[in-house]
C-alpha cells in the first residue's frame, strides 16, 4: 500500500519527466506529419497520416546524409585519437613519478577551464596559417591552410584535457601491487600500461569514449567557423543553416533533427551508466 507521500512524489516526477521528454516526442511526431498538417492550427497531437516518406524526402531536400556521414567520421576519429593519446597521458600522470608532474597536472586542469571563446580566434588563425596546406607557403601565407578541410575539422579538437583528467582519475584507482607484480615479472613500463593496467580500465575507456563522441557529435562553433563548403558540413551546422532559409519546411527539418539526435539518444539509452559515471567523476573528483 503506497503512502500518500509516495504518490505525490511519483506524480511530481512523472510530470517533470514528461516536460523533459515532450520536445523529443514533438520532434518525432512533427517529422511524421504531412506538410498541411504541420501548418494546421491548433496543432494536432498525433499525425492523422503517418507520413514516413518525409524521411527520404528530407534527404533530397537537404544533404542530411552527407552531413550525417561527416559528423560520424569526425566523432569516430576524435573518439579513437582521444582515447589512445589521453589514456597514455593519464597513465603517465597518475602512475609515474617525475619532476614537474604536479605542475603538468595543474596545467591540464587549467586547460579544462579555458573558455572556448578565449582561444577560438587564434585557433582559427593557426588553422588558417598551417604551412604547406591549402595552398599556403612555408610561412603559412597565401592559402586557406586547414580551413575547410578534414584536417581542420579533426585535429584541433582531437585531444581534450577532460579526457586526460578522467583517465588519470581512473588509473589512480588501480592498486599499486598490480604494477609492482608486473614489474617484477620484467615487463617494461609501456607493457605495464598496455597489457596490465589498461585492460582493467574498460569502463573508464567506455566513459571517455562516450563523452568524447558526444562532445564531438554535438559540437557546433568550431565546425561552423572552419568549414565553408557544403561537402564538409557537419550535421549540426547543416541543420542550423536551414533555420535561416526563408521558408522553413518544418516536417523535413524535424526529420533532419531526428537524424542529428538519434545516435546520441540510442547510445545514451544503452550506456547511460558510463555517461553518468563520467560526469560524476569529472564533477566530484
Amino acid at each position: 500500500m503506497p503512502r500518500p507521500g509516495q504518490v505525490v512524489l511519483h506524480a511530481v516526477l512523472i510530470l517533470l519527466s514528461l516536460v523533459m521528454v515532450a520536445p523529443f516526442v514533438w520532434m518525432v511526431l512533427t517529422s511524421l506529419k504531412t506538410s498541411e498538417e504541420v501548418l494546421a492550427y491548433p496543432p494536432t497531437l498525433l499525425p492523422s497520416v503517418w507520413d514516413w516518406a518525409n524521411y527520404p524526402e528530407a534527404l533530397e531536400w537537404a544533404p542530411f546524409g552527407t552531413y550525417f556521414r561527416n559528423s560520424l567520421v569526425i566523432a569516430v576519429s576524435h573518439t579513437v585519437i582521444n582515447v589512445v593519446i589521453a589514456a597514455m597521458a593519464g597513465y603517465a600522470l597518475a602512475r609515474v613519478e617525475f619532476r614537474g608532474r604536479s605542475l603538468l597536472m595543474l596545467l591540464v586542469l587549467a586547460a579544462m577551464m579555458i573558455p572556448t571563446f578565449s582561444k577560438i580566434v587564434p585557433q582559427y588563425l593557426i588553422a588558417k596559417t598551417m604551412p604547406f596546406f591549402g595552398g599556403n607557403d612555408f610561412l603559412g601565407r597565401g592559402g586557406s591552410g586547414w580551413l575547410d578541410s578534414w584536417w581542420g575539422l579533426i585535429v584541433p579538437g582531437a585531444v581534450t584535457p577532460l579526457a586526460i583528467f578522467l583517465f588519470r582519475q581512473f588509473y589512480l584507482s588501480l592498486p599499486r601491487e598490480l604494477e609492482e607484480a608486473a614489474r617484477m615479472d620484467g615487463l617494461s613500463e609501456f607493457g605495464i600500461f598496455a597489457r596490465v593496467m589498461t585492460p582493467l580500465m574498460k569502463p573508464a575507456i567506455a566513459t571517455v569514449a562516450l563523452i568524447t563522441f558526444e562532445n564531438s557529435w554535438n559540437n557546433f562553433v568550431w565546425p561552423l567557423i572552419v568549414t565553408r563548403s557544403n561537402d564538409l558540413r557537419v550535421i549540426q551546422v547543416g541543420l542550423a543553416a536551414f533555420r535561416e532559409t526563408d521558408r522553413v519546411l518544418w516536417e523535413y527539418l524535424m526529420a533532419g533533427t531526428v537524424l542529428a539526435t538519434l545516435p546520441m539518444i540510442v547510445l545514451f539509452l544503452f550506456t547511460q551508466r558510463y555517461f553518468v559515471q563520467g560526469f560524476a567523476t569529472a564533477g566530484i573528483k
Partner: protein
C-alpha cells in the same frame, strides 16, 4: 602470449628492491615523457598558444589579409568598452546567467533529493531528465524554435486552450530572451542533477535516520542536513554553470539568429563571433574575448569567496 605472466628466470632471481627501483625509475620516467608527449604537444599547440595569443592579439592591430601586426596598446579595449552594443551584450549575458543558473540549480537540487530516495522507476526519471543534456544544443534549439513558432507552434497551441493568445516568443523582442532562458533551464537541469545525485550518495544514511528518530520532517531534513552537506557540490555546479552560461552560444544563434529581433538577445559570445568571423576583425574579437575571460575569472574568485570553499575547485 600474455607477457603479464612471469618468465620463470626473472622470478628466480629477484634483485635488491632499491637498486631495481632506481633502474626502473629511469626507464619509467623516459616512458612517461614519451607517453605524455603527443597529448602535451596537442594541448600546447591548440590550447596553450591560442590562449596566450588571444591576449597578444588584443593589444595589436592585426590585419588578417596582409598578415601584418602593429602595436595597439589598449586601443582595442577602449573601442570595445565604448561600444554600446558590447555593453548590451554584457547586460544580456548577465541577465541570462542570473535567470538560468540559480533557477536550474534550485530545480536540480530538489529533483536530486527526490530521486535519492529508494524509488521505483528512479532510473527512468533520471534518464528522462538527463536526456536533454546529452543531445546537441543546436538540434534541441531547432525543436524549441519549432515549438515557439508564433502561428502554428505547439506552445501557443496549448496556451490557446486556456484562451491565452501567446506572444511570438523568439521573434518578439520582449519575449526573445525569455524564450532562450526557458529552453536553457530545461536543458541545464540534467547535468546539475547528476552531479548533485553523485554528491548525495556520499551523505551517510545514519544522519537521516538519526534526524528521523528526532522527529525532523522531510523538508527539515533537506534544509538542515542535505543542503549544508552539498556545499562543495553546490560550489562546483555553480562554477561550471557560470562558465557555461557566459559561453552560451548555440541556443542564441539558432533560436534568435543575428543577435535576435532588434538586438534583443545579442550576448558576448555572439559579439565575439560577429567581430571575428563575420567582420574578420580579429583584434577586436580578441579584446572582447579577454573581457569575457576577465568576467569569468572574477566570477570564479567571487564564487569561491561566497561559498568559502578553496578546497573544492
Amino acid at each position: 602470449m600474455s607477457t603479464a605472466t612471469a618468465p620463470t628466470a626473472a622470478r628466480a632471481r629477484p634483485p635488491a628492491p632499491r637498486a631495481r627501483y632506481r633502474r626502473f625509475g629511469h626507464e619509467r620516467r623516459r616512458t612517461a615523457y614519451l607517453m605524455l608527449a603527443p597529448a602535451l604537444v596537442h594541448l600546447v599547440w591548440w590550447i596553450g598558444i591560442p590562449t596566450v595569443a588571444t591576449f597578444v592579439l588584443a593589444v595589436t592591430h592585426y590585419d588578417i589579409l596582409a598578415g601584418t601586426m602593429t602595436w595597439a596598446g589598449l586601443d582595442n579595449f577602449v573601442a570595445v568598452l565604448s561600444n554600446p552594443t558590447w555593453w548590451t551584450a554584457v547586460w544580456h549575458t548577465l541577465v541570462y546567467t542570473f535567470f538560468t543558473v540559480p533557477v536550474a540549480m534550485a530545480i536540480a537540487v530538489v529533483i536530486a533529493a527526490l530521486l535519492n530516495a529508494k524509488l521505483r522507476a528512479r532510473a527512468w526519471y533520471r534518464t528522462a531528465i538527463f536526456m536533454p543534456h546529452i543531445t546537441a544544443t543546436v538540434a534541441i534549439a531547432l525543436v524549441w524554435a519549432w515549438m515557439y513558432e508564433p502561428n502554428v507552434g505547439v506552445i501557443n497551441g496549448v496556451l490557446s486552450w486556456f484562451g491565452i493568445r501567446g506572444p511570438a516568443w523568439a521573434a518578439d523582442p520582449t519575449w526573445a530572451m525569455t524564450s532562450v532562458i526557458l529552453m536553457s533551464i530545461w536543458k541545464g537541469i540534467g547535468l546539475k542533477m547528476v552531479i548533485y545525485l553523485a554528491a548525495l550518495q556520499n551523505i551517510p544514511e545514519e544522519l537521516y535516520e538519526a534526524a528521523e528518530i528526532d522527529g525532523a520532517s522531510a523538508v527539515r531534513r533537506f534544509v538542515s542536513i542535505t543542503l549544508p552537506l552539498l556545499g562543495p557540490a553546490t560550489f562546483f555546479v555553480f562554477i561550471i554553470s557560470l562558465i557555461d552560461s557566459f559561453q552560451v552560444f548555440e541556443q542564441f544563434y539558432v533560436l534568435t539568429p543575428r543577435g535576435g529581433p532588434a538586438n534583443a538577445t545579442t550576448v558576448m559570445t555572439y559579439e565575439i563571433y560577429e567581430s571575428a568571423f563575420q567582420r574578420f576583425d580579429m583584434s577586436t574579437a580578441s579584446a572582447q574575448s579577454v573581457v569575457l575571460f576577465a568576467f569569468l575569472l572574477v566570477l570564479t574568485i567571487v564564487g569561491r569567496r561566497i561559498t568559502g570553499r578553496d578546497d573544492a575547485s
